[in-house]
């Protein structure tokens, strides 16, 4: 029975997610959509932070670049959504930015890695802010239209339909990332986290493993960014800002780095606080701060490990 527990859990979660829009109003369905998008973003960061041991404060670079590429194609070039072009463009843009940045940042580790990434992602923010003719500057790019899936009987303009579209994307991304971290390649990332020198001594080209992981992680972040652009119908420089990167980092740390699904829980917590608590008080950041500190002090491995442990205890007794 215990062996099947994870599958039962996943099935239960999926069914609940599918059923959710039937029980909550459009506002909460929209919020759930946002959570799923950020969950993918945070999980993609976990590949770097939790599995490879390289916490990043520049993950918004991939998320934001893809969002902008989609928005520019959508608003400036097609004057409408060409999903068949925008999807590969979003993937390519994130991969390209990662391929270039990776050449620079993967030579360093720890604080240096973080700072160089902050600087590079803020450079992209600067470009988005200044290149008014292309990006709309600080006004951003409004009017990003969602893909037309009318032939499937879906109207993505509707909150519920878009939610299911994002849910599909979330499920596929989660599955793919799960496969990646369980694969032999995923194991090499754990090895790198534990000891780079030993990995090299075993014959691994450590840099190349990191480079591939960096690009894979960026692609998922970029995909999430694309869904964010469709969700908001609007892209602004804040998508590239340090604050967006930091949000993802907090989601991963809060949920549990190196657990892959933990960061999704982190996304739930933070998006809910941000959107619900902020309705009551403008000081919602204080509440987030307190929750973050309490988690880091009482459950430094994150909420996910806490849940897992108590579930296991429950299964034993």
């Amino acid at each position: 029975m215990r062996r099947h527990l994870p599958f039962v859990g996943i099935a239960f979660l999926l069914v609940s997610l599918i059923a959710c829009p039937l029980f909550v109003d459009a506002y909460y369905t929209g919020l759930l959509t946002l959570i799923l998008i950020f969950a993918v973003f945070a999980m993609s960061l976990d590949i770097l932070q939790g599995f490879m041991g390289l916490p990043s404060l520049g993950h918004a670079a991939f998320w934001g670049t893809s969002a902008y590429v989609v928005a520019i194609l959508n608003v400036k070039i097609f004057k409408g959504c060409h999903f068949g072009v925008e999807l590969p463009a979003a993937i390519l843009a994130a991969a390209l930015v990662a391929a270039v940045l990776g050449l620079i940042v993967l030579r360093s580790r720890g604080t240096y890695f973080m700072m160089i990434l902050v600087a590079s992602s803020m450079m992209l923010w600067g470009i988005a802010f200044k290149w008014r003719s292309l990006t709309g500057g600080d006004d951003g790019l409004p009017g990003v239209s969602r893909p037309d899936l009318g032939f499937l009987g879906l109207d993505l303009g509707k909150t519920t339909h878009y939610y299911y579209f994002v849910l599909l994307f979330f499920a596929l991304s989660a599955l793919l990332m799960y496969l990646v971290v369980r694969s032999p390649f995923g194991r090499t990332l754990l090895g790198i986290r534990e000891s780079e020198t030993r990995m090299a001594a075993l014959g691994y080209h450590v840099w190349l493993q990191k480079y591939v992981a960096f690009i894979v992680s960026a692609v998922f972040a970029g995909l999430a960014g694309m869904f964010m652009a469709y969700y908001n119908g609007y892209v602004s420089p804040s998508e590239l800002h340090l604050v967006t990167s930091a949000e993802a980092l907090i989601m991963v740390t809060l949920g549990g780095a190196g657990t892959l699904f933990g960061p999704a829980i982190g996304a739930v917590v933070i998006i809910l606080i941000k959107n619900i608590v902020s309705a009551y008080t403008e000081h919602w950041m204080i509440i987030l701060g307190v929750i973050y500190m309490v988690t880091v002090m009482l459950a430094p491995e994150g909420v996910y490990s806490l849940l897992e442990r108590s579930l296991r205890k429950g299964a034993k007794t």
């Binding site: 369980r182 754990l190 001594a201 075993l202 014959g203």
Partner: protein, 250 residues
């Protein structure tokens, strides 16, 4: 042709000459021990041979290729395996996962992003066979950080041996082992087939004399003596270092 050939190798850290003008050859199948007091440059020499450090001067040839400036992982692929003096393992992973990382270095495996590791039955079988041989199979699901120090040292060596590299650099493999464990280790090294060539750093003259055909004594980065154990033992300058008399920098 020697399997490993080192010519005039030097490594300077600022004014410190950690390794200075070291030259020697190692023939295929030979067991060469490197001894010397602390700070003699033994480990630095290994770092140069394994590619963790690049030399200030000199050249290294192995398996007929010049590898002086090769990256560490390329040297491993060429056939040079190493162990570490300070235990260097994947401490938060299980014993089996540690070994699977050592076994999965082939290109096709390391870049497989989608198949689960557990579907590599060939690697699992090999892993089981190796862990059984070293009495570690029972401990396969234990995180390495929870192993005893002796078990960690054993795994340290097992990871490297499992890869079947023809040239091994063993950096104080008996360091921290009990006399019994050390004895077991010596008999294990002696039982190795002759197609494996071994360079071994150790402090213990007895361990070294049992394993090695030749001993190289390093002192302040320089080769002070190189020859069969009896000859090195009789060398008056080596005796001086080891009895602590007449300590003079070269």
């Amino acid at each position: 042709m020697p399997l490993l050939s080192v010519q005039n190798l030097s490594k300077h850290f600022g004014g410190l000459h950690a390794v200075e003008d070291v030259s020697f050859n190692v023939e295929p199948g030979e067991r060469l021990a490197i001894i010397g007091p602390n700070g003699a440059g033994k480990t630095t020499l290994f770092e140069l041979l394994s590619g963790t450090l690049l030399p200030s001067r000199g050249r290294i040839h192995a398996f007929g290729k010049e590898i002086t400036t090769w990256a560490a992982h390329r040297r491993v692929s060429l056939g040079i395996g190493r162990t570490f003096q300070i235990t260097n393992l994947f401490f938060n992973l299980t014993v089996l996962d540690n070994l699977l990382l050592a076994l999965g270095t082939e290109g096709a495996v390391r870049f497989d992003l989608l198949r689960p590791m557990s579907s590599y039955h060939r690697l699992y079988e090999k892993g089981r066979e190796i862990l059984n041989r070293w009495n570690l199979w029972e401990r396969r699901n234990v995180p390495v950080r929870s192993l005893s120090y002796g078990e960690q040292r054993l795994l340290e060596i097992t990871l490297t041996l499992s890869q079947d590299r023809p040239l091994l650099l063993l950096d104080e493999p008996t360091c921290g082992l009990s006399p019994d464990e050390a004895k077991n280790f010596v008999s294990m090294i002696r039982s190795f087939p002759r197609d494996i060539t071994i360079l071994l750093i150790d402090h213990d003259m007895d361990v070294v004399s049992e394993i090695a055909e030749r001993i190289m004594v390093l002192h302040f980065g320089r080769v002070m003596a190189l020859g069969p154990p009896e000859e090195v033992r009789r060398n008056p300058r080596v005796q001086e270092i080891y009895t602590g008399r007449g300590y003079e920098p070269a």
